[in-house]
């Protein structure tokens, strides 16, 4: 994979570059999904990432909670029936303590589902070599294209500079490009 990206000092210039890149998709035969943004803080309020807002996570958590509650009931009811204690005519499966176990496992179900959903949705952990620049954690906003057609490299570089990029860099996962371009690892 070869990518080109610009490092922008603020959200306004990054937004301009993003708009320009999106507008230039058809001209450069770019896949809009190949446009990459990275920042050291959430920029949803600045108008970035609105297309990422659709997620099933808030629905999966209650589903996990329901499964957890079911497991809680199954575990405690199965246990109480497997080793019935003398209850003096009271029910073997007592609902009050079973309710407490169900509640705790319901919450545990919601928590574990959230963790799993987060891991799947973000694709973390991922230790492969991917497009990234440590300057992002210094406050710079990275806007770039990850699947680059080398024919339009110069024009894209110019476009990024025009919109206020402080630096434009290239990134490649191929070894042969290491000497040809400025490679950031």
């Amino acid at each position: 994979m070869i990518a080109i990206y610009g490092l922008f000092p603020d959200a306004n210039s990054a937004r301009r570059a993003l708009t320009a890149l999106r507008a230039a998709c058809s001209r450069f035969h770019l896949n809009p999904k190949a446009i990459v943004i990275m920042s050291s803080e959430p920029l949803e309020e600045e108008g970035f990432g609105w297309e990422e807002e659709r997620t099933l996570m808030p629905w999966l958590a209650p589903l996990g909670a329901l499964v957890g509650a079911g497991v809680g009931y199954a575990l405690s009811a199965f246990t109480q029936r497997s080793y019935p204690l003398p209850t003096g005519g009271m029910p073997i499966v007592a609902m009050w303590p079973t309710g407490i176990i169900m509640y705790e496992l319901m919450m545990l179900g919601a928590i574990l589902t959230t963790i799993v959903a987060f891991v799947i949705a973000t694709g973390l952990p991922n230790y492969k070599k991917r497009l990234y620049d440590p300057e992002v954690t210094n406050g710079k906003i990275l806007v770039g294209v990850s699947e680059l057609d080398s024919a339009c490299r110069a024009e894209l570089e110019q476009l990024l500079y025009q919109d206020g990029a402080e630096q434009v860099k290239e990134f490649s996962t191929y070894r042969k490009y290491k000497n040809r371009f400025q490679v950031t690892t």
Partner: protein, 364 residues
């Protein structure tokens, strides 16, 4: 501040969860606490509050750990990009390959929102269930319906006090004066004041009910606390939890960083005494008088208690050493909040100006 508080929760829980194992005597049989059928075919009794404890503490520990670790991932990525050598390798593993894409930020914020909603009811339930360890037992002064909310209030009360002390120490040691401001301590002080009032209300309600009931076994425990051999501890507790902190926290001039730390320090001592007084005097005065006795801690128990405090301090210091104790990315977001508000104001003013300019033309 959230991270300071969550770290206290996680370490206190981790240490607290060791106590059932310490108290087993034969700690190598700790797995008997886990609800599974043993080789003798005996299943755990789900009617026992100790089994509820297992589930409540496991859930709370999992939730608190998640709530603590999720927002640390971007900060670890930040440390990864600045570290070198072995540290870089370690933080690279911990950062999980975080890059800060809009998708990652959005999913993190959604997960944090879900966790924030989930963790509060779990916190209430875990403290209530710990109180039920006592309240379900037929022991004088334990068998009370007020114990659930009383323990929840006590946990919040002592938790805020511990947080204020931790924040003050971290502020001083790591020079975080710009981030942990007097305003934070002032606001936490107000919260502590409310909890102090709530705590004294619970103490009064609980004791009044016992006194009014006038049952012999309960009154024996009651008077041993009020004016017997535990009276010194009881009145020290009242001073530490109410009489000293109340004026400090109620008077605005005294609600400084030093003032809130002094009030919190007395509260931590007072709350420890409260737990001691909940456990020991009633057990000395159970319903059957032949069961009465007296308690004196052995050197083993004193050592375990001291070890617990030292363990907590050690874990917190290590945490502050290796993890950004203040959430850097959340702080950045907070700093940007003002310009955004200013930007919004500017937009509103501009819109108003345009509206003003169009109004005369439409009227004419």
């Amino acid at each position: 501040m959230t991270r300071c508080a969550e770290a206290i929760t996680v370490f206190a829980l981790a240490i607290g969860a060791q106590y059932p194992i310490i108290h087993l005597g034969r700690s190598w049989l700790f797995f008997w606490l886990i609800p599974y059928p043993s080789e003798r075919g005996i299943w755990p009794n789900f009617r026992s509050p100790l089994v509820w404890d297992f589930f409540a503490i496991s859930t709370y520990l999992t939730g608190s750990l998640t709530f603590l670790l999720l927002p640390i991932i971007p900060d670890w990525a930040m440390v990864r990009d600045r570290a070198t050598g072995l540290r870089k390798r370690i933080y690279t593993v911990l950062a999980l390959g975080w890059r800060g894409t809009p998708r990652e930020w959005h999913r993190l914020e959604v997960a944090m929102r879900i966790m924030a909603v989930t963790i509060l009811p779990v916190a209430v339930s875990v403290h209530t269930i710990v109180s039920w360890d006592f309240a379900m037992a037929p022991v004088p002064m334990w068998h009370s319906t007020v114990f659930g909310p009383y323990f929840v209030a006590g946990a919040i009360f002592s938790g805020i006090a511990a947080l204020i002390i931790a924040m003050a120490l971290v502020r001083k040691a790591l020079h975080l004066e710009e981030y942990l401001k007097p305003l934070h301590f002032d606001n936490l002080g107000k919260l502590l004041l409310v909890m102090s009032l709530l705590w004294i209300y619970f103490i009064f309600a609980e004791r009044l009910t016992v006194w009014y009931g006038n049952q012999p076994a309960e009154m024996a425990a009651f008077w041993s606390i009020q004016r017997g051999k535990f009276a010194v501890l009881f009145w020290t507790m009242i001073c530490c939890n109410f009489l000293i902190p109340f004026p400090i926290l109620a008077i605005k001039k005294l609600r400084t960083i030093a003032g809130t730390v002094i009030a919190s320090s007395t509260i931590v001592v007072g709350m420890w005494l409260e737990r001691f007084l909940i456990v020991v005097p009633p057990l000395e005065h159970k319903y059957l008088p032949y069961d009465w006795g007296s308690y004196r801690p052995t050197w083993v128990e004193i050592t375990i208690t001291v070890g617990t405090f030292m363990g907590m301090i050690l874990l917190y210091v290590l945490f502050a050493k290796f993890v950004p104790i203040i959430s850097i990315w959340e702080l950045k977001g907070g700093q940007h909040a003002k310009p955004i508000a200013e930007q919004a104001n500017a937009t509103v003013n501009l819109a108003a100006q345009r509206l003003d300019s169009t109004l005369p033309s439409t009227s004419s």
